[in-house]
Amino acid sequence: MIRNALRDRVDAHVILLVGLLIFEISVFSILEPATYPTRANFTSMTLQASEIGLLALGVVLTMIVAGIDLSIVATANVAGIIAARTMTSLGGSSAGATATAIIVGVVVALAWGAVAGALNGTLVVGARVSPILVTLGTLTLFTGIGTAATEGKVVFGIDAFTWLGDGKVVGLAVPFLLLVALAVLLSLLLARTRFGFEAYLVGENARAAWFSGISVRRRQFAMYVASGMLSAVAGLVVLGRTNAAQVDFGQSFVLLAVLVAVLGGVNPYGGRGSPLGALLAVAVLQAMSTGLNQVLVEHSGSNFFKNFAWGILLIVVLAISARSR
């Protein structure tokens, strides 16, 4: 039956992911009973997953309106650099001065994210250039800006800001809480507002949306701006965790973020997907990565096996959901 095709598909996908997650956790818990099913391991997994998760949210949003944002990592790194520079130059001796420095740093970084996203949005929506090409171009451009500003060197932040990276609230890592909060907030926004309702319609059929009186371009533009700002948040989290920012940090994260988005049930052709799905997908991915790391700990290249497994995972999940269509 094609009945409830939409809901059935999303549900089937969620079930697939939850099943996968349970399977991974059980297998690795049996293989590595001493290290895998522990509280410490859980905390470290949530921490590691957060950065990719935040970046993936941007990809989810742009894919919902049938676009894509590949400039996320470059945007994030530049945001980190800008924040670090701002904080170190404003940071004073007093607590008050430090607080001001952090606030200004965060605001400036977020503003950068919005500007970067607005540039992407303008080129994609205004000039109607393929989003792949635009964001690949701005990826290079933003990397260039970061390189020019830092000469490719590491920029250090201020100690007080590391709370964002390794602080804990009720035993949970702050970046993880941030990710969950943003994913829930965005999901609510998409599900409960006029903007969200219309954004899905734009992604499903931009022409029909136009004929329905929806401002197609504004919806698309907003998603790119949001993606830029989410990337900036990811950049701030990296700065908090490492107390450093660097222009070529985490370049493989672009791929991972796209992987997480698609794994989470976003339709790359637009119109379907949810930030919560991406949250689930990032959990699946992290549970697998950490497990493989522990199982293959004696092997020199466990990181590389992870890459291999990610690729296979993406292809397999795509194949399964392509089949159910």
């Binding site: 171009g137 451009l141 490719g152 022409r207 136009w210 796209v258 291999f308 194949a319």
Partner: protein, 335 residues
């Protein structure tokens, strides 16, 4: 006469030519030594591997797809070829190395093509997946060591040059033989695209897929052929790269996807398919190689290079958009 005119109008390369010309003028103005042969040879040399891979990517773009996995294909093919040849202590002609690498690349391309026609998903997503997969496979299962001892016949190839010129200060400037290979492959790809029904079918599918279907063209076979060919070409690029750096380095090439894509797109290939040619791609490669390797010579600090490359890419991809600017108000043209 009419044909020449049509050619000039069609040439998307005018942007590239103007850019190359402007860069040359600027570089020479800043540093007259720029025009000397050693620099020129260095530019060409730095374009060899990117150029070969660009030819494969060009085929994919014309057919209406996009491929980012070719760098992983190149390295995986090259690295396993060297391992195989070293394993059997091979001492014969180098052409065997190219053939093996092309075969491995072709197989990986076949996998790409099969997944794409099977899953019917955006080719970008599928090849992003295979990029990670191929690379992870190589680094985990085959090895991570930089192999300095290349098969016997690759060494002479690594040292061969097309022409050598003595420089005033007693050194020698030479153009690597790999450039000849690039030119040869470019001519071959151009010939396939221009003179074979297969080549025109690639354009046809990229230009109007539905019409191609209605005309009875075997779309899937053509697409599969494109990805196999792109994979094989990437394999060859991998071996050339090993020869140029005189080692089989599993960490080379990957990361240059963007430069290659930029070269092809700036050279006039449309990401929507149906448009692009070898000449334009070649010029795009030269432009990227020029920017990548020569901005320093012109007194622009290294750290500013990426910024310029980014600006060039954006300018290059904006151009086709300008052409359709005036049709944008009709709602029936929204996709």
């Amino acid at each position: 006469m009419k044909r020449t005119l049509a050619f000039i109008q069609d040439a998307p390369s005018s942007f590239v030519l103007v850019s190359i010309g402007a860069l040359y003028v600027a570089f020479i103005a800043r540093n007259p030594a720029f025009i000397k042969l050693p620099h020129q040879f260095a530019i060409l040399r730095s374009g060899i591997v990117i150029g070969i891979m660009a030819l494969g990517l060009l085929l994919v773009l014309i057919s209406g797809g996009i491929d980012v996995s070719f760098t992983a294909v190149a390295v995986l093919s090259m690295y396993s070829t060297v391992q195989i040849l070293n394993g059997v202590n091979y001492g014969g002609p180098i052409v065997v190395a190219f053939l093996i690498a092309a075969a491995i690349g072709g197989l990986l391309g076949l996998l790409n093509g099969a997944l794409i026609s099977l899953l019917r998903l955006p080719t970008l997503i599928v090849t992003l997946g295979t990029l990670t997969m191929f690379r992870g496979f190589m680094l985990f299962f085959i090895g991570t060591d930089r192999i300095r001892e290349l098969p016997a016949q690759m060494k002479p190839f690594a040292r061969s040059t097309i022409l050598s010129v003595a420089t005033p200060n007693g050194g020698k400037a030479s153009l690597h033989v790999g450039f000849l290979l690039l030119v040869g492959l470019a001519l071959a790809v151009a010939a396939v695209l221009r003179w074979t029904p297969f080549g025109r079918a690639i354009y046809a599918i990229g230009g109007n897929r539905q019409a191609a279907e209605r005309a009875g063209l075997p779309i899937r076979r053509v697409e599969l052929g494109v990805y196999v060919l792109a994979g094989a070409i990437a394999g060859v690029a991998g071996v050339v790269d090993a020869a140029l750096i005189r080692a089989a380095d599993p960490f080379t090439i990957v990361g240059t996807e963007l430069d290659v894509l930029a070269a092809v797109v700036i050279g006039g290939a449309a990401i929507t398919g149906g448009r692009g040619g070898v000449l334009g791609t070649f010029l795009g490669v030269i432009l990227i190689a020029l920017v990548d390797s020569s901005l320093v010579l012109a007194g622009i600090p290294t750290e500013w290079q990426r910024l310029f490359v980014g600006l060039f890419i954006l300018a290059g991809v904006m151009l086709p958009a300008l052409r359709t600017w005036n049709t944008r108000t009709d709602p029936r043209t929204i996709e």
